[in-house]
């Protein structure tokens, strides 16, 4: 399998789906002439022309709402937000129009659109440009929320998102746009709403998604040096959440750590932790641990920023806590 970057995988998905269906168009800031603020849309203008690859003014509420309207009458818009921080300006269009149109119309209308862009922190972008907003969107019935953590998942899931008849919030990450990984050649899709086990292990279940998948895999390597085999479970889709593979894993390991880049209060992490606690209660040998960002706006300082985010060390420590600091793999398997 060829190795390509997360960015290239997204670009391939966009190009293939635009080739496949002429109702697909992309609109956003700097997506055309500039070739994408993060180069995800590179080459699409040249391939598909300015009628389908459209530079929008900085007007998120306007062009996101325009996408909803176009989707209501049969097009399949891909709205690129330069980062999800700016989607807050379009929040009303996403929550009140995209998510609720089908419901309010009693099933008369549908809104097949993708709103995509990078989510979460990058490097020292400070409070307004470093937010993980998945908990906001995952809260809302009517939306789907997809957060791939590898190039292969990014491509397969974006293709599914574009073909989906519902509004899909598709969250990428600036930090992993350059991440390389194996991606199958040719046509494939990955279904929305399916959790994937990314690493097998018997001692502790670590649930991680998006950029945090890589951080969790690093933590797993550190744990392995101590003889602890962590199982890494990646939901990939936050809503609808396929919790069955998570529960199956916990039933095997009896211990669970949930990782999220978002804030701890009322977030995706606490939802997953709740489901594990309530649906796998009898299997748990320790309370579920949550490793999230600290409960603060993101500071600019490099030192502070690093310490706000989940790190492999924090994940290792949490795993040690649910294992009751045991470094004896035999002990963790009672």
């Amino acid at each position: 399998m060829p190795e390509i970057t997360y960015r290239e995988a997204l670009n391939q998905a966009l190009a293939e789906e635009m080739e496949r269906d002429d109702s697909v168009f992309i609109v956003g800031e700097e997506v055309a002439q500039y070739q994408g603020a993060y180069k995800v849309t590179q080459g699409l203008l040249q391939k598909f022309g300015p009628e389908r690859v459209i530079d929008a003014p900085i007007s998120e509420s306007g062009f996101t709402g325009l996408g909803v309207g176009a989707a209501m009458v049969g097009l399949r818009p891909i709205v690129e937000v330069m980062t999800f921080n700016f989607s807050l300006v379009a929040f009303d269009q996403i929550i009140n129009n995209a998510a609720k149109m089908r419901h309010m119309s009693g099933g008369q209308l549908k809104v097949p659109m993708v709103i995509r862009g990078p989510n979460g922190s990058a490097h020292q972008l400070a409070a307004t440009h470093s937010q993980s907003l998945e908990s906001f969107y995952s809260h809302v019935p009517g939306l789907k929320v997809v957060m791939p953590g590898t190039p292969k998942d990014a491509k397969g899931l974006l293709k599914s998102a574009i073909r989906d008849d519902n509004p899909v919030i598709f969250m990428e990450s600036e930090v992993i746009y350059g991440m390389k990984g194996e991606v199958p050649e040719g046509e494939y899709t990955i279904p929305i709403g399916k959790t994937d086990v990314k690493r097998q292990g018997k001692d502790v279940t670590i649930v991680a998604y998006a950029r945090m998948l890589g951080v969790a895999l690093n933590a797993a390597e550190i744990l392995a040096k101590d003889g602890i085999q962590a199982e890494i479970v990646d939901p990939m889709t936050i809503r609808p959440l396929d919790d069955e593979p998570i529960l199956e894993s916990v039933k095997k390991t009896n211990r669970c750590v949930v990782i999220t880049e978002a804030w701890p209060f009322a977030g995706v992490g606490s939802e997953i932790a709740f489901r594990v606690s309530s649906k796998a209660f009898d299997y748990l040998d320790a309370p579920v641990e949550l490793v999230s960002s600290e409960d603060v706006p993101m500071p600019y300082s490099k030192t502070l920023e690093h310490n706000v985010l989940p790190t492999p060390e924090k994940i290792v420590n949490a795993a040690m806590r649910v294992l009751y600091n045991s470094k004896d793999p035999g002990k963790s398997e009672d």
Partner: protein, 340 residues
Amino acid sequence: MSDYAVETNMSKGSFGEEYLSLGRNKLVEMFRTMVLIRRFEEMAAKMYSMQKIGGFLHLYIGQEAVAVGSVAAIRDDDYMITAYRDHGHAIARGTDPKLLMAELFGKYTGTSKGKGGSMHFFDASRNMLGGHAIVGGQIPLGTGIAFKIKYRREDKVCLTYMGDAAVNQGTFHESLNLAALWKLPVVYIVENNLYGMGTAVDRASAVTELYKRGCSYGIEGMVADGMNVFSVYDAIKEAAKKARELSLPTLLEIRTYRFRGHSMSDPDSIYRTKQEVEEEKQRDPIEQMKKFLLEEKIATQKEIDDIDAEVKKVVAEAVEFAENSSEPPLESMYDDIYVS
């Protein structure tokens, strides 16, 4: 009330003989639809006071000529989208009043199966795409519908209605900019009934001639008299032609008046005088149309009376239908949230 000096582009909209060319059938149908809206709304108010209808109820009484004149000027395959004072638009578009009354009653037979209510009337089969309840929230949607028309190279137009208060929302300005920038076939219709809830236009808008708001975006502004169905008709015809042939947007301010409060909870005694309301009622769009039909001998008094009786029967049947319809089954709660 309004001391508006209407300087430019006032759609002339006399009740002159030139409108006879629309033909008797169309003229009578326009009159009948205005009466149907009026009677439907009166009945809705009554049903609200009997607690058959819940939530918010914003009546269209006084503004009937806007919906009827504009729908009469477009084609069946054109699109329309509006805000929450939406009963008149759905009725003018031809949606069965039975289904609309059932929706107001929250019944399963309603247009949205009881999930939308008064503020969310949709009839996708007639390209009437809501019914939206956040002020100004539907303006980008109408712009997107116009985007699709252009993308698919159709010669349609999207009428995007809003109230006068919506022009101060960011979505209004973002939409007008996009529509002008990308030359979209949309007619933005500001139904200026002079009050955003209880706030008079001159207490909300720095520039009270709302059609002028288009000039920042190079969008032509027009004004029509919303109490005269022909004035509305002419203005929409012209704006729709421009949209179809040149793919250009228009901002059309239609000056109208609501004879009832903002919603059923508005005692209507604080922000405007009884005298003002009475004066405006002298320009009742239905009475003016009736006078025209009689003077031009298009209809006799008997025929007018028959229309009123027939319409009352339609409305009574709508109530009966709504009353006899089922409540939504509880399991329908989870229907129509996602396309599966």
